[in-house]
């Protein structure tokens, strides 16, 4: 197993600032926009984006929710491991709202496919956009692309991209871990 650092704390900070600026550019006052972190790991990123937005926009920052996609996944009963659910916290209806999904790594696109189904339990959004920190391009199984993207990487299949956050893992860093099967 070998590991290399893709982004350090400072680089992550710069990217978060840029992504937030792009959101503000497109959504201006966020009147009709909601930010949804995808459970479990997208929520850390969403929290960071939200706190920068709150600094910039004060009380105009968008409504914030967490969405768990476990019960909407397409691999139920296919793996050996049980699918463990996380908390969903959406205290508003998304009917006619602009929804921004936030997730840390976009890989096959299957999580986002599940999230697109899951969000419909809370109404029919006007639009749905996707913000990711890392886009593993060339690994997609479905026609899904990010609207706001931190960094693209060409990781191969036996590599894992791990995003760590200070509040959960002790440091802000993005690592690529290569798992040797031999």
């Amino acid at each position: 197993m070998s590991k290399r650092t893709l982004l350090n704390e400072q680089e992550i900070q710069v990217i978060l600032q840029r992504l937030t600026c792009q959101l503000i550019e497109n959504h201006t006052d966020f009147k009709n926009t909601v930010l949804i972190g995808i459970q479990p790991r997208g929520v850390f990123l969403a929290n960071r984006i939200q706190s920068i937005l709150q600094e910039e926009l004060k009380e105009n920052a968008p409504a914030f929710g967490k969405l768990d996609i476990t019960f909407y996944r397409d691999d139920f009963r296919r793996g050996d491991k049980i699918l463990e659910a996380n908390q969903t916290e959406i205290n508003f209806i998304v009917e006619n709202k602009h929804v921004i999904f936030v997730d840390d790594v976009l890989y096959t696109g299957r999580s986002i496919r599940s999230a697109l189904t899951a969000i419909q339990s809370f109404g029919r959004p006007k639009t749905v956009e996707l913000l990711t920190l890392i886009d593993r391009r060339f690994s997609r199984h479905l026609p899904i692309q990010p609207d706001y993207n931190g960094k693209q990487v060409d990781a191969i299949n036996n590599e894992r991209v791990v995003v760590k956050w200070k509040e959960n893992d002790g440091e802000d860093v993005v690592e690529i871990i290569r798992i040797n099967n031999e």
């Binding site: 768990d68 476990t70 019960f71 909407y72 139920f76 009963r77 296919r78 049980i82 699918l83 463990e84 659910a85 996380n86 908390q87 969903t88 209806i93 189904t117 419909q120 339990s121 809370f122 109404g123």
Partner: protein, 312 residues
Amino acid sequence: MSDLSVNHLLGIKYLSEADLQLIFKTADHFKEVINRPIKKVPSLRDITIANLFFENSTRTKLSFELAEKRLSADVINFSAASSSVTKGETLEDTVNNILAMKVDMVVMRHPNPGAGVFLSKHIDAAIINAGDGAHEHPTQALLDAYSIREKFGDVSGKKVVIVGDILHSRVALSNIFALQKLGAEVKVCGPLTLMPKHIESLGVQVETNLVKALNWCDVANMLRIQNERMEITYFPSTREYVQQFGVTTDVLSKLNKPITIMHPGPINRGVEVSSEVADSAHSIILNQVENGVAIRMAVIYLLASKIKQYDK
């Protein structure tokens, strides 16, 4: 996280404490789901479930059916009154015929104790016991314990008294197992004629004085007097039973502290509990009903996740 230690839910007796906690944790998520504007998830869209009710039921059957539909399972229903059972077909044959129609899971209520266990040994499908005679009613006990957990934050260390017809009650036995596994203390209270022999061997104390029992407990679970199961007279009259074991606002006002009242339903108003008590803030009877759907969704989801996609 590991999955359930069992492939069938036949009784609480066969579950570990970790199983109970896993079911509760999963039920928390489903409780959130059933309070959404759209109360349905697609998890079980390729699972077919047969509800076989060889004995009458309204609440449990509706609750199971709702849980199954909210998980997007296909559901077929069967009740003994309108079936070939009356023509002399055996249980195994009835169920095998239904399974030949490619059913993955069977929810069964049956008047004979052990019917679920018998079936699980002969049939290739996940079995959920929805009540077998006076033996066990595991999902009721799970939702009762879950409702206590919801009200108090934890079941461990709580004092629960089960009042009424313990002898004929599958709810009592399953509740005793579940509450003890979760670290609660359990007493049973009722006329001695309605106490099973050797009930103390389960580690529960028998109390025949209702007021003493209520003063001791945090929660009283009031069982229904099952007249339909009583082939002889166990107490002189309903009026006398009510005087000794009926919970009224009068009884509650004389206790040293407020307690929580539960009832598995259907209530005989004015017998086990008075109407005022059943509708009072002490009662969590309707919470139990709501939690029943979430608990059954959790049990079905967890058992279904053990049926592998391409085993069949």
